[in-house]
Symmetry: D2
Subunit: 342 residues, 4 copies
């Protein structure tokens, strides 16, 4: 089967590599000709490409399958241009990080033209080429079914994890790493929640490691504690110098908190045991916010996911004004002066 | 009635002033003779004092009533020395910020000597002289009853707030601003929870004002938003330059969030509209931590009070290691680089 | 000056009463004629009304000032009908709980017709008649200035709170209880944040009182603690039977947490000491959610306000599915069985 | 090498099985003779046991190695009895879930007798026999080194996870699944934080799945929304019927949130897709609480871990009083009545 790919960055190129490896062919479209040339050199006759959208479209067999894999901000314009060039029966896939609201709008806008729209939340990051990509898919039944051979090649496959006890017989697509989650937007909705969970789980590790990091506080001089900070009641309980890189390593085997995120954390800590290469300003890319928006709209409590998001905001200094308000109040009612910078 | 006061700092001296004003007499004990001299000059024959504990004790009528009003860390040693000098029937009051665990231990230790122990959580801060002090009291019924004339003089009195609808007849002591809350420790327990609530309410204002503070984010140049931070979907919704000092002022009259904390905030913001005199490092003095300890022991959820406490910790930079862990993870799975310092 | 009021429910009628008391006149519009008749009987010649919108509009002097005070869901339709009947120079005020997004849209839609739009966030609840209403106002400078005589009458006035130290001279409008916060939407924006703070402060009290409520846990039989719940390490620290109605009363005088919300809480607890008339299902009316949406859009941390909102969701049973997931996980890795219903 | 095991429940018995499989021998001590008989039948001459502590001690080679694997509440008494029977040079291991404070006290108490004390936090739950146990160890260097052959047999071994990139040469013990974390208490300290992280990560999944669970809220009748609950602004965004068991399955392969906890969740949801066998009352076993206590003592923010713990408390109904307070306040200031039970 043939796949058209717009955007040959790391993610797009690796998806192309996985399907070509599996016997499919691909056509690429990219602003940077060197990215096309490199893939062509690597994949030979199974890949061709163009820097121009109309030529790219002309290279595709009908019904065309075009996967758009570019930054979320640019997806709308490209999809619009593309839809002018496609024909009824063709399929557009948005594999980026669009908000699912946009999928619902785009599917509706393309429907009168007979163009099918599929949204695919794609997880796997920089490891997708070897691990495969976890695919969360939204769209019409028939269209998604048509794409099955490609999806199967892109996804990790059943051998990527031990089979869940109790499951037998023909594996479901979920067991192979891809899932049709519902109509337009459902793929990005599930991917959004996936990222929301990711934020929460990351924060759980980060907070726990911070508690280990400061487990030696009882060994520091008492002079450090000014009248403005509660003194430690039992310094004898906090005299541990924990080797955090080794702790993350030991938890990878046999513990309840073993996970891929932990594997990565252990690897980072092995290379940079004190995390000196990081300043601690943590970005967020939208999905965590949108997950909370959904929780609020649904009236569903999300205290952990929100705490994780807000911690990222705070890491970028966004609590400063609130903190000044607190200091001002304390001065007002208690005559408390602020601690000097530590 | 006579009160002995150990510690003539702002709180201790103001309590002495209030009782003398109300017709009682006082004896003070202080390391700094100038504090004694000043009060003596001010209060005349109704006040005397000594820098030495034995002399101070000798000046007191029996049964002696000794209020200890010194930093929590020093209370234990002073109480021990004092108990050597007192006689059965005498009363020790701890009016500081001791943890209630210590009250339970001290009451038990003093009981065989026939010395009565009372713990009084004292709220009112720097405004106590004019406003009166809110007193939360723990101890035996008879002992607390004996102290009633003094407590009544120290507390704000019923006219400090409009009477609660439905309450009629002889006002309860709570309506006058003092309350016997239970046996030893109950006073500091209730005061501890009072401070826990204070942290939560302060944080509610601080977070809300922070949202007002940044309500102009839609007017800033788009260039500020890098690829690593979600762009603002609707800048047109965030084009307000809110005058925060005036907002806190308007809320003081007729709104649901009117409070004494808000009065103080409005006063601080009037004097320093941008809070330039504060750096945003917020201390905590123990009670917020102990309130959470109690919530955990009791198995009672306290998500708001804990968020308020943790925000203070974070204001002092204590999230940094956790934030670095998050950045390390993001780099590991997504190749994301950290934002430069803003 | 004359005010037209659409909606003579408790809030609308009380605003009318306050302005008429102060020498203005009013015209009302209401579906229920008995509400009109009652106000007419009470206010005499200074009030007239109609159940029909066109007649109501005809009764108004130009430039007309029409305050719409109806449920947020109905405001849009009424404003639309009204705008058909008004003339250039007339003023529409939305005094309800609309989302500020709608204010921005309505102001823009009415502008070409020459109709001025003002949004007023109105706080004061059922006590507004006697306490006055705190008014947070959005709109054009000139229009808001034109309304000043009415706003002054509706607001509580400067005597509603002691003057903030440092403020002298002619009081600002904020000191009188009303504030022009910015252009269209600014009034509802500030009111929204006010309610967000309200949620947080309410939760702070509620959590603190819950900790007092369970301060007797150490007196209960040990048999209550099954193997599935951590036993209490120090039951001797939790043997207090706190009189919570009296505690809320004592905090009203002299304490740091004194507030109007506390006054109300003390009144409720006096009438119903165990809160037996409540089931604990807590509603939310939108502003708390929108405050969080704003915090998320602005990238500002709001851990306390979000915890307060999520607690309300959870009070309505919306955590149940999440809790089942936790129980399922615990069974899976540890063979833990759930506790029976307590 | 020989291991003495007190407590032949699931955990103790499986540890015995793993070491015997690996060529060591074991002696067991248990109240229930049938547990001893069963292991003896299974393991033959490599295992013997006794229901009486003195006989058990007599069966052990010196220096004796005794692993105590019984409920945390009973560990103290057994350790005391045991220490009367042991000789200088012998080793007691507490492999249960004791609080690390107790380890510090026990190590100190046993030191004058020449008995060595080692605390081992043991993770692995019901799967430990096949997966191996992750061991977090506290104690003196020499003593822990002496135990190495046993620890290696109990731990999962390096092949239990892919080697961390960059690590080469002789694997550290952490890479084999066991780690000497520091002096007495360090093992249980690290295990405690492990469990704290576990609570946070579990809650992240639970909240995310709850958001998926309610993603169909836009398809329900509008009549469900009363005036007391904010109506859904965009029902068209919430019309997904997500197959949650399949979503957890697809995330197991290639996604960022793949983990052992997710594996277990997918298994549970496969067997009970609607989680009908659970009521949603979630227990906590102490470590989550102690982790928070440590965070508070250290002054380290733990908003996610605390939210996770408090959610468990709330699942057991412990928010009820707080919720009633909120309803009482809302009635007081706004005349709001509570929603009827849904």
């Amino acid at each position: 089967m043939q796949l058209g790919m717009i955007g040959l960055g790391r993610m797009g190129a690796n998806i192309v590599r996985r399907i070509v490896r599996d016997g499919h062919t691909a056509v690429g479209c990219e602003r940077h000709p060197e990215n096309i040339d490199q893939l062509a050199a690597e994949l030979g006759e199974n890949f061709q490409g163009s820097t121009e959208l109309p030529k790219f479209v002309a290279m595709l067999e009908t019904p065309r399958v075009v996967w758009v894999m570019i930054p979320a901000g640019a997806t709308g314009a490209v999809t619009d241009s593309l839809s002018e060039l496609l024909e009824p029966g063709d399929i557009i896939i948005d594999g980026g990080n669009s908000r699912y609201h946009e999928d619902i709008a785009r599917a509706k806008a393309l429907s009168p033209k007979g163009i099918h729209y599929v949204d695919i939340g794609t997880s796997g990051g920089v490891f997708g080429l070897e691990r495969g990509f976890c695919l969360m898919i939204g769209g019409e039944d028939e269209t998604v079914a048509h794409l099955d051979p490609l999806l199967k090649s892109i996804a990790p496959g059943i051998e990527a994890a031990p089979r869940t006890p109790g499951r037998t017989g023909e594996p479901s697509t979920a067991e192979q790493g891809y899932l049709h989650c519902g109509p337009a937007g459902a793929g990005h909705f599930v991917k959004m929640v996936h990222n929301g969970i990711e934020y929460g789980a990351m924060a759980a590790y980060a907070e726990g490691l911070n508690i280990l990091h400061k487990a030696d506080i009882g060994t520091r001089t008492a002079g450090e504690h000014s009248a403005e900070v509660t003194p430690l009641e039992h310094p004898e309980y906090y005299r541990y110098a924990i080797d955090i890189p080794e702790v993350t390593e030991v938890w990878r085997r046999g513990s309840v908190v073993a996970s891929w995120l932990l594997d990565l954390t252990a690897a980072e800590l092995y290379g940079d045991p004190n995390l000196d290469s990081f300043g601690g300003r943590v970005s967020d890319s939208g999905e965590g916010r949108w997950t909370l928006d959904a929780a609020i709209d649904e009236g569903v409590p999300a205290p952990v996911l929100s705490a994780a998001l807000f911690q990222r905001f705070a890491s970028r200094g966004e609590s400063l004004y609130a903190d000044k308000v607190l200091s001002a109040m304390r001065q007002a009612f208690g005559g408390h002066h602020e601690l000097p910078q530590g």
